[in-house]
């Protein structure tokens, strides 16, 4: 899964849009209007998913596990808007429950990758010394270890749970987050006002909270959007390859893989989650972009 690191690498280096050139040739108003429409549509899409997830969790509707052995591979219709799969389960319900699992994995990914990574990065960047070197070496080792192997190993070792998968993807993101936060911390640390604060014996936690964290946070948030999409796609890819959640737990990649066999007879089994996955990632990207622009 080299994409994990590569996508994150771009997250840092690629500001979303070009800096406004000194002289502008044309009005961007139509483009801006389009962006706003996209932004609202993206929010709406995520809101819709959230509502459906709530329905699935809190009400008896949209049960992703209920099998109707009498209605397998039914085409989309009134009873089943996205049709049913080979086990007679409602594809919409599975897709919604898949969203739930994807978001959970993405959240765990963020917690493990972003939180651990940035804590490591801040501590290393602030205190330097042997700890920095040792952690740096450990991170290099983590990056050199084949990602695929790490994921398969963790899944074989701990069983394919949400936590294992989210943790494995998060683990692979730690180096990227640690590097970014470390370099920001380093530069903050060398600023005069921080140096002065150190000289007058300001408590370290206070410096970290008041000087370092505010510098790191906005970058982290911008990064987090990328990390969420990377997490969702990585989970989908792993489930697709069979290293994801175990049956019957629904996951987008898993449903796509299950439906692939019946692509010619029952394309809806594959299409519904594939489209949902793509649109969701697109929506998060759009929102993340908006955020990055606003920040500038």
């Amino acid at each position: 899964m080299p994409q994990i690191t590569s996508a994150l690498a771009t997250g840092t280096t690629a500001p979303p849009t070009s800096p406004a050139p000194a002289l502008k040739r044309r009005s961007r108003t139509t483009g801006e209007r389009l962006q706003t429409v996209l932004f609202i549509a993206s929010l709406g899409w995520l809101a819709l998913l959230l509502v459906l997830m709530f329905v699935s969790m809190a009400t008896p509707w949209l049960d992703p596990f209920q099998q109707d052995f009498g209605a397998t591979k039914q085409a989309p219709g009134f009873a089943h808007p996205f049709g049913t799969d080979a086990n007679g389960r409602d594809v919409l319900a599975r897709t919604v429950a898949g969203a739930q699992n994807s978001f959970t994995v993405a959240a765990i990914t963020l917690v493990v990758g972003a939180v651990t990574g940035s804590v490591i990065g801040i501590v290393c960047g602030y205190f330097r010394g042997w700890f920095d070197s040792v952690v740096g070496l450990a991170l290099d080792t983590l990056m050199a270890f084949p990602a695929l192997m790490l994921i398969i190993l963790l899944v074989s070792f701990r069983g394919p749970s949400l936590w294992t998968i989210g943790g494995a993807i998060g683990l692979l993101m730690i180096p990227s987050f640690a590097r970014v936060t470390r370099s920001i911390t380093l530069s903050v640390r060398s600023r005069e006002y921080v140096q002065a604060a150190v000289l007058i014996d300001t408590p370290t936690p206070r410096i970290l909270l008041t000087a370092v964290l505010p510098a790191v946070a906005p970058v982290l948030v911008a990064y987090a959007f990328t990390a969420v999409t990377v997490g969702i796609v990585a989970e989908g890819s792993m489930s697709f390859l069979g290293y994801g959640l175990a049956a019957p737990a629904p996951s987008w990649g898993g449903i796509i893989a299950e439906g692939r066999t019946a692509l010619a007879q029952a394309p809806w089994i594959t299409l519904a989650p594939a489209a949902t996955l793509t649109i969701t990632v697109l929506a998060i990207n759009v929102i993340g972009e908006r955020f990055k622009e606003k920040r500038k």
């Binding site: 019957p248 066999t261 007879q265």
Partner: protein, 517 residues
Amino acid sequence: MNKILKKAALGAAAASLVLALGACGTTTIAASGQIGAAGEPKDGGTITFGLDRDVATLDPAKSAITSQPTLAVANALFDPLMAYGPDGSVEPYLAKSFEAMDATQTKWLLKLHDGVKFTDGSPLNAAAVVSYMEHLAKKETACSCRGDVLKISKSEAVNETDVEFTLAAPNAAFPKGFTRQMGYIASTTAKDAFGFPIGSGPYQVKDYKSGDAITMARNENYWGKKAHADTIVFKSLPDTDSRYQSLVSGAADIIWTESASQFNQAELDGMDRSTATTGTSLGVFNSRTAPFDNPAARKAVSMAIDPGALLKVVNEGTGVVAAGPITSTSSYEATAKAPGHDTKEAARIAASLPTPLSFEYLTDGRPQSQARAVAIQQMLAEVGITMTIKATDLSQFGAALVSGNFQMVDFTTSLFGDTENAFTSMYPSDGLANFSGYKNATVDTLVAESKAEPDAAKRGLLYNQIAERGFQDVPFTFYTENLDGFILDPKRIGGVADVSSWSLVSIRPSDFWSPAS
């Protein structure tokens, strides 16, 4: 041969009709039902065969080419001593004959054809067979057949073509063991350019690319009837759907598949299929530990499961419901009847258990196993039994199976294709495939009796008695006999055997021919 006809024939004869059927089927080995392109076979051309896995080695002593999906590779390079006839009876193939020398079934005489040669020209004679058996018995060879080989206490070449085997214990079905791994005699001295031992088969290896393809060229010095196609390419296409797409897009002419939806799709796409119900899926209870050390718990689970629904959902209606250890294609008739699906009774038994039944169901990661587990989960939930699913990769699955580290396991095997082997390995307390840990003294005695019984009809009666015991004690619960086999494009390949009545799908690539050539 038509399956329904065969069933009728079986029903007409009171006991087992193995011999009679064998007699009517022997004449038509080559001509019997063939699938694919119509017309007279042509020589020449290339056939591309899509395998469902990477073939790590072409050494028949390893298991890579001796499981059903890859047996065609073994059949191209090697000749098995024994082979199944179209009716399921075991017949000599590389052997000229293979018969018991005494009534106790412990001494057997193998006679080879004259003048059979390995592809390097060296003779495949009695000494070569004995040497190969010694090779298989070695620990370093790491053959999974070693357990069976060690049951031969002595093998001796009496002359150029005859080998005498002495067994440690009587075994009426001994020659049958030579239809698969043990029977593919490879040279113990000569290797091909890729480091694999050579054989005497209709093809020889021209190119071997690990994980990609094995290219074979016709063996022009073959001792028997020469193959039609000049070249056969076995491609590794492990991804089920990619494999089917390869067939549809013309990158493969024939593929192996176990996917029910592909069998259905094949008809829509104008493809032919040659399939058999050789794999049996069953649930194995671990009867050594709780909760399934209690036969009532096993019974409750067994009765709650509706194999008919599994067939419909998992197999999409292909294959048949597994009635028990004697399969629908077995030469023995099944008279013992399983208790069958009964939700009310299952719920009653489950409710009568001291504690609510809750357990973990182990599956390998294959989609069919997953789908089955999910369906079973719901069936059990309906009678108040809680089941969680644990999916592992194949190596963990195997390790768990051997070590008994499971509660109930989803097991799909071709073991039942060989009725004798199934009864001797799955039911007795020392059986190598008795993963359940099933112990029943009566069954042990019956199995021992069956091994020494030369008469097939009487053996059949013994098997039904064992099966009856099994249905009472429920160490396993049978689900379905699954359809698997080949899908092929009739425009591009002919001469594929109709395997529908076979108990072991082992087709010979030497029969394939290419209409295009």
